[in-house]
């Protein structure tokens, strides 16, 4: 199957073809389709089924043109979306061929005979290719006097996608996307002939993580999003290019706002990153911005322990008072923009005079800090495109970085590339990638990593943040990279983590990846910041800060339940200044609360897992809200140690001017593996990751999206199921001294010693329920 991409130039020299379209000569790479060559000349041939990222279908026949090659004319018009240009080809589109023009008008008339023509009540009206092209390439009046085909409508094919079969033109974009791009063939063309229709199997909804793309590429109003239905007219929306805040995939997005409210978000185009796709979380999880528990005004805890709304000057004064002259630190969270992270980084070093700063609001390790300071992360999406082999280590791309998944899947679909997955079980994503599974018990990955062979410089190793939960894991990864010459990517879940490292929001690095231990690096930064010096005293990481006797912490967007069960209790003993957008567990214990802007309300940038930066402007104007860096700058002024970053723009400019460290970096201290925990027959080693759609706080308020989340299940092996005498669907109880979780089980291809649960899903929030997330022995019993 050949998939032709817009603007993709292969690195090898491409043969060029010259042809003539409507009298204009054009030279394009061999293999370019006629419809695409015409686009380059600015000639728009109408089309529906054609999509540059899907294999040609030739189904709608709207793009018929007249073609002759070296004087030999095709006897009938040809679909320009299926025919590559050839030397000596002469193409006549609707502009110059009356036959092509009549053919196109004829097709358009046929497409409309059964169309309900309900544009006034259709979400697509105003941005509808059918509507637009019926105007530009159709007859002014239909000659159809018969009976239109009718169907029940709309049919929910999932909780978030509605299907209107009457509007459908059967272009098969949605079904091709589902099969070719997402690998989720849950919607198909059913029946045949005039009754052919898009549909699902009645018992299995269209619960694909990528289903929203079908709504976006539907050229009519046949597929619509439940949440957006009847909400707006496209011409009433103000669109802003934006960046997705949900994960490190780095998607380009478009945010559509009406009267100060985000009504929808769409995938933007970036051939180097997300092509034209995004995941459903990125598309539909934005209601948190307008959640009822948004914090609108600064608050200070009064003598009775109650938070009281106060003015900004009062709040800043109270915060400064508590921070001044105390031993303090900063917890950034992994969701900050680069500018905000930079603000926190500078705030810690300048205003608080400490290297106690960490962005990791999750399980982490000292080995990981060392790795992040020393590893060369060189892999990119383009490397996946040309990879001979992709190795996934403690990383489930479909759940943890869904666009990375799409990129790997594309190559599996097109080139059948090899994928190896070091994991305790074959996840659905792993099965879709036909991955060779190296089954490991959580904590025992080191040996498996060390045993991987056959990698080349064309291979790509992608390691997830969860590897830090295994001592020695990252050391083994670096060794593997060293020995094989493969490219390495480290892919955290959250959108702000790569940027936070770069901004120095980690104890061992200063902005621009400068080692804190390097005096020249410290001088660099001291100079840039016009301060006398930067402390070389080693800073604490997140765990250390929480467990320390530090008196005060500045916390920006952290959920203590992401870190440990007792984090909140421990933090409650300290003076907390919280910068946050909504009421949270931190609000409960904060002395001062400073409201900040949500992503759509501010400008900034995110650095994706490749290290590529995507800038964005605010999509919603909210004068009351402001980016963290601006608040931090005011707070630093109040403390009396200014950081001089009054705006996002100034932070960006200063950070850019600092540049990246080009000196030497510390080589990583190698850790060796620790012994694997042994388990008795009724025990298992807990393993988990977060499903893409789960109880994550940024997904709050979007029930239609939540409806497509994968059901919470306990995954056990066949032999364990036999031992427990349970079948798929029976309830199983996983427990430890902290607590217990009881859920239906699923029998899967999982390591015998392991049990898997979703880390933060409905009825399965592991830190909350079990106090641990992985690499820990639990009891497993029939419920």
């Amino acid at each position: 199957m050949s998939i032709q991409e817009l603007g993709t130039q292969s690195q090898v020299e491409v043969e060029m073809i010259t042809c003539v379209i409507d009298g204009f000569e054009i030279t394009v790479p061999k293999g370019t389709l006629v419809i695409r060559a015409a686009e380059k000349l600015g000639i728009q041939i109408p089309r529906f089924c054609d999509h540059p990222l899907l294999a040609p279908a030739g189904a709608c026949r709207q793009c018929l043109v007249d073609i002759e090659i070296n004087g030999r004319a095709f006897p009938k018009p040809q679909a320009s979306c299926t025919i590559p240009v050839e030397n000596g080809m002469i193409v006549k589109t609707q502009l110059t061929s009356p036959v092509a023009d009549k053919a196109q008008k004829g097709i358009m008339e046929l497409l409309l005979i059964n169309h309900p023509l309900d544009c006034p009540v259709c979400d697509k009206g105003g941005e509808c290719p059918l509507q637009n092209q019926a105007m530009s390439n159709g007859r002014s009046e239909s000659r159809f006097e018969g009976v239109k085909r009718t169907f029940e409508k709309p049919v929910p094919i999932s909780s978030q996608v509605l299907l209107d079969r009457e509007r459908c033109v059967l272009c098969a974009r949605c079904t091709r996307f589902s099969e070719q791009i997402a690998g989720d063939p849950f919607i198909t063309l059913n029946e045949r002939g005039a009754l052919q229709q898009v549909g699902i199997y009645e018992e299995e909804p269209f619960d694909s993580y990528y289903s929203g793309n079908t709504v976006q590429i539907c050229p009519v109003g046949a597929l619509t999003g439940t949440s957006y239905r009847f909400r707006a007219r496209p011409f009433d929306l103000v669109s802003t290019d934006s960046a997705c805040e949900h994960c490190a995939s780095g998607c380009s997005m478009r945010t559509d706002v009406r009267r100060g409210k985000t009504l929808r978000r769409l995938a933007g185009e970036d051939a180097d990153v997300n092509e034209e796709w995004n995941c459903d979380k990125g598309r539909w999880a934005f209601k948190y911005e307008v959640a009822k528990n948004r914090i609108k005004s600064p608050m200070v805890r009064d003598a009775n322990g109650q938070l009281q709304e106060v003015s900004w000057p009062e709040a800043l004064a109270a915060a400064a008072q508590g921070l001044k002259n105390s031993r303090s630190g900063v917890l950034v969270g992994g969701r900050a923009t680069i500018e905000d992270s930079y603000g926190y980084s500078k705030f810690a070093r300048v205003a608080l005079g400490t290297n106690n700063i960490d962005f990791r609001a999750r399980r982490h390790s000292q080995e990981e800090s060392d790795f992040l300071a020393s590893a060369k992360l060189t892999a990119t999406y383009k490397d996946i495109d040309t990879a001979d082999h992709v190795v996934l280590i403690s990383f489930e791309p479909e759940d943890e970085s869904p666009i990375v998944f799409l990129r790997i899947y594309k190559q599996v679909y097109k080139r059948s590339i090899k994928v190896t997955n070091v994991a305790p079980l074959a996840s659905r994503g792993s099965e879709k990638l036909k991955a060779n599974l190296i089954k490991t018990t959580a904590g025992d990955e080191v040996q498996a990593i060390s045993n991987i062979s056959g990698l080349t410089s064309k291979s790509v190793i992608l390691v997830g943040e969860r590897i830090s939960e295994t001592e020695g894991g990252l050391s083994a990864v670096l060794k593997l990279v060293e020995n094989s010459g493969a490219k390495l990517g480290w892919i955290p879940r959250r959108a702000g983590e790569r940027g936070a490292i770069s901004a120095g929001a980690i104890p061992n690095l200063l902005p621009g990846n400068r080692p804190i231990t390097d005096s020249a690096a410290r001088v660099d930064i001291a100079t840039a910041w016009s301060v006398d010096s930067i402390s070389n005293e080693p800073g604490m990481n997140t765990d250390e800060m929480i467990n320390s006797d530090l008196q005060a912490l500045v916390i920006g967007g952290v959920d203590p339940m992401d870190i440990s069960a007792d984090a909140k209790i421990k933090l409650s003993k300290k003076f907390i200044v919280s910068l946050e957008i909504r009421q949270s567990d931190i609000t409960d214990i904060a002395a001062v609360v400073l409201p900040v802007a949500a992503v759509v309300e501010k400008s900034g940038s995110f650095m994706d897992w490749q290290g590529k930066v995507r800038k964005f402007d605010s999509a919603v104007d909210q004068t009351l809200n402001r980016s963290d860096v601006r608040i931090l700058s005011m707070l630093a002024d109040e403390i009396g140690r200014p950081i001089n970053l009054p705006t996002v723009k100034s932070a960006r400019a200063e950070f850019d001017s600092i540049g990246n460290w080009d000196g030497s970096v510390n080589s990583m201290k190698v850790r060796s593996a620790v012994a694997v925990k042994s388990v008795s027959a009724d025990e298992a080693v807990l393993t988990s990751w977060r499903n893409l759609l789960d109880k994550g706080s940024l997904q709050d308020g979007e029930e239609n999206l939540a409806g497509t989340a994968r059901k919470s299940m306990i995954i056990i092996s066949k032999s364990r199921a036999k031992a427990l005498n349970v079948e798929t669907g029976d309830h199983v109880r996983v427990s430890n001294s902290y607590g217990a979780i009881t859920l239906p089980c699923q029998i899967g291809d999982i390591d015998e010693a392991s049990v898997w649960l979703p880390r933060n899903s409905l009825n399965s929030q592991l830190i909350r329920n079990l106090g641990v997330v992985s690499n820990s022995v639990v009891k497993v019993a029939k419920a």
Partner: protein, 208 residues
Amino acid sequence: MAYTAEQLSVMDSIISRYPRKRSAIMPLLHYVQSIEGYVTNEGIELIGQKLELATAEVTAVSTFYTQYKSKPVGEYHVGICTNTLCAVMGGDAIFESIKEHLDIENDGVTGDGKVSVEHIECNAACDYAPVVMVNWEFYDNQTVQSVKDLVDGARAGNPPAPTRGPKSLRTWKQNSAVLAGISDGLANEGIQAGEPSLLGLKKAKGGA
């Protein structure tokens, strides 16, 4: 209903006929019909599992082909050809009178579950027009009366034998198994050719 171990192993043997297992989807759907009479959800899910396909993909295939039924048909499924030639020569009249005779509509099933009726397209027996198929066996040169007798016999459990086919008419489920490629040993029954098939040969040999 649950499929027996034997039935599941028949399915595996059907799959093993093909270089790639997805190719087995059509015989498997015929096979499901031979057991359940029509394509049930259970059948779809089972085929999906066996072939590692999404249930939607199985549905997409099963709904494309008209011989796969989404609801039960009669023990004797009567197809009356109403394509042009048969229709003109009597198929239309047969179809109308049989519907009335049985008091069912197109695709309907008699209350006793014995007979269902469907108008069908050309069945490659035009020289025997008008043609009626029962469980996809040939009933050649039919008239209104002959088809009435046919369906009455079928309802009484005593249908006449096909014109070109086995000695006695088999049920819908039994014949579905044949279509799934499972031999019923009846290939040698019945004539090798009907009169029209032999006409040219006879004329060539100088016959009348």
